[in-house]
Amino acid sequence: MDLKELESLIRLFDSLSLSELALKQGDFELNLKKEKQRTQDLGMIPAMVRESTNNTAEPSTDDNQTSGHIVKAPMVGVFYEAPSPKSPPFIKIGDQIAKGQVLCIIEAMKMINEVVSPVSGVVKEIFIANGELVEYDTPLIEIEVTGV
């Protein structure tokens, strides 16, 4: 392993949430370690535990780990997959969609807000169930990008 490779490996280790790395390859041995980092969430006792309203299906939003584009909620409101209770949903998993196409609506203060796709691609996953509360920036839908 040359220095450049070594450096990129160390940087990778540093960027991830790993705490230890041990590598052995022939006569090459590398051990890396990180101090336990204080997680920022304090975790206060009993009643202080934060009830998260919609973390049930929270996906990884780390762009390194997914090939798809994550569409996030632009406001606080209720997520609806269809324009009305009796209509079919705007999209379902596997649909080919175009940039600008309506993906879902978020109702906030009795106003209907359409969420449109910023990319073209295929619907890979829908994270939120119909009628659920979403916060600002809550991941809603993942789209496998096929064009921008």
């Binding site: 920022q40 969430d41 934060r50 998260s52 606080v76 203060m109 106003m111 600002y136 809550t138």
Partner: protein
Amino acid sequence: MFKRVLIANRGEIAIRIIRACREMGIETVSIYSVPDQHQLHVQMADQSICVGPAQAAYSYLNVASILSAAVLTNCDAIHPGYGFLSENPDFVRAVEACGITFIGPSADVIEQMGDKSAAKKCMESNGVPTVPGSDGPVATLEEAIKVCREIGFPVLIKASSGGGGRGMRRVDKEEEVRSAFDSARSEAKACFADDRVYIEKLILNPRHIEFQILADHLGNVVHLGERDCSIQRKNQKMLEESPSLFLDDDLREKMGTVAIRAAKACGYKNAGTVEFVVDKEKNFYFIEMNTRIQVEHPVTEMVTGIDLIKEQLRIASDLPLSVKQDDICMRGWAMECRINAEIPQKDFTPSSGEILFLHEPGGMNIRFDSLLYTGGEVSPFYDSMIGKIIVLGNNRLEAIRKLRCALEETIIEGVQTNSAFQYTILHDPDFIRGQFDTGFMEKKKDALLSLMVLEE
């Protein structure tokens, strides 16, 4: 009483309100912006809703998102804290339109008291002394000159919808009236989309003394004594105390009675503050009414033992005041010092970053209200005030000594703070003797800064 309250704020005041709610068995919902995800107010609430990105305009001022969050989490009341939406009458109306209680006075009162010349007119007609000046907005230069001649120089020309010193001009002689009048108007128009201005006599270096009042829906109004907030830098309060050394019992009773009259004059409900300036001859003049809980409210809590946030919650849910005027007795001397994340030596520029280590002050009659924790973040996006140390002594000197000791114990690593600067104020002979007015900081700042250098 409410079942669940949304707190439309962040930082130490959000935490303060959460604590009061929890002690009363009320559930809490916090709101936060994306970078505030790990803030203490988010972690302490029963539930938290992200309402927008870092910029306050799209998060802590985002009425639609905040109201959606309140409605969708079934909150029956919203506490606005201070700053942000706390004195915005349109927000109050929107909250009420959703069937939610706003914890504070009515939209109409906020609106009236927010309009300086309307507020002044209301007070004048109810026998509350105000700073001599024009009778409402002044439309023409001729009228402006006439008013100035009547009240005498120096005067201030101020924007009717103004605040924070913008749209404000000082005028010392008649020749300066024209240019000041014109520039105040155009600045007022630019800043507040309202070019109306009014004229007031300038009280040179007065004391800034305010009275805390509480008013319920039955028309009961009490005052909880005064706070002396004369130690200010650029109109930002730094150190507050109660009582004020400048008031004797007679003047205190007189001003307290006037404060109650002011609150009744505008039909006030909930907690509020009547601000006065007091000149060297102990003449006092109403300057404005703050229609919210204030940063320095713990000073009053310390001397009276009354929890102002709990009173706010009681009043908003139409319970009568828990105290009568005669029940209120002051004990000791309270003093508060604001801890800001800023660099005094660099003209008080804000400092932000991760808190690497925190050691809080402690002991008898020491209170530290703060958003800090070891590992937490001081955000560059919001106010630099990160905590308040409040102490209670048997007398003023004991309070000063306690505050010094508390500052000595406090360790905040990761951001720079003004605590060493505050420490120098507490050693200033004029401050210790109580010989100060709102001109104190301007006069003393450089000398105090040079003391800091010596200490390092």
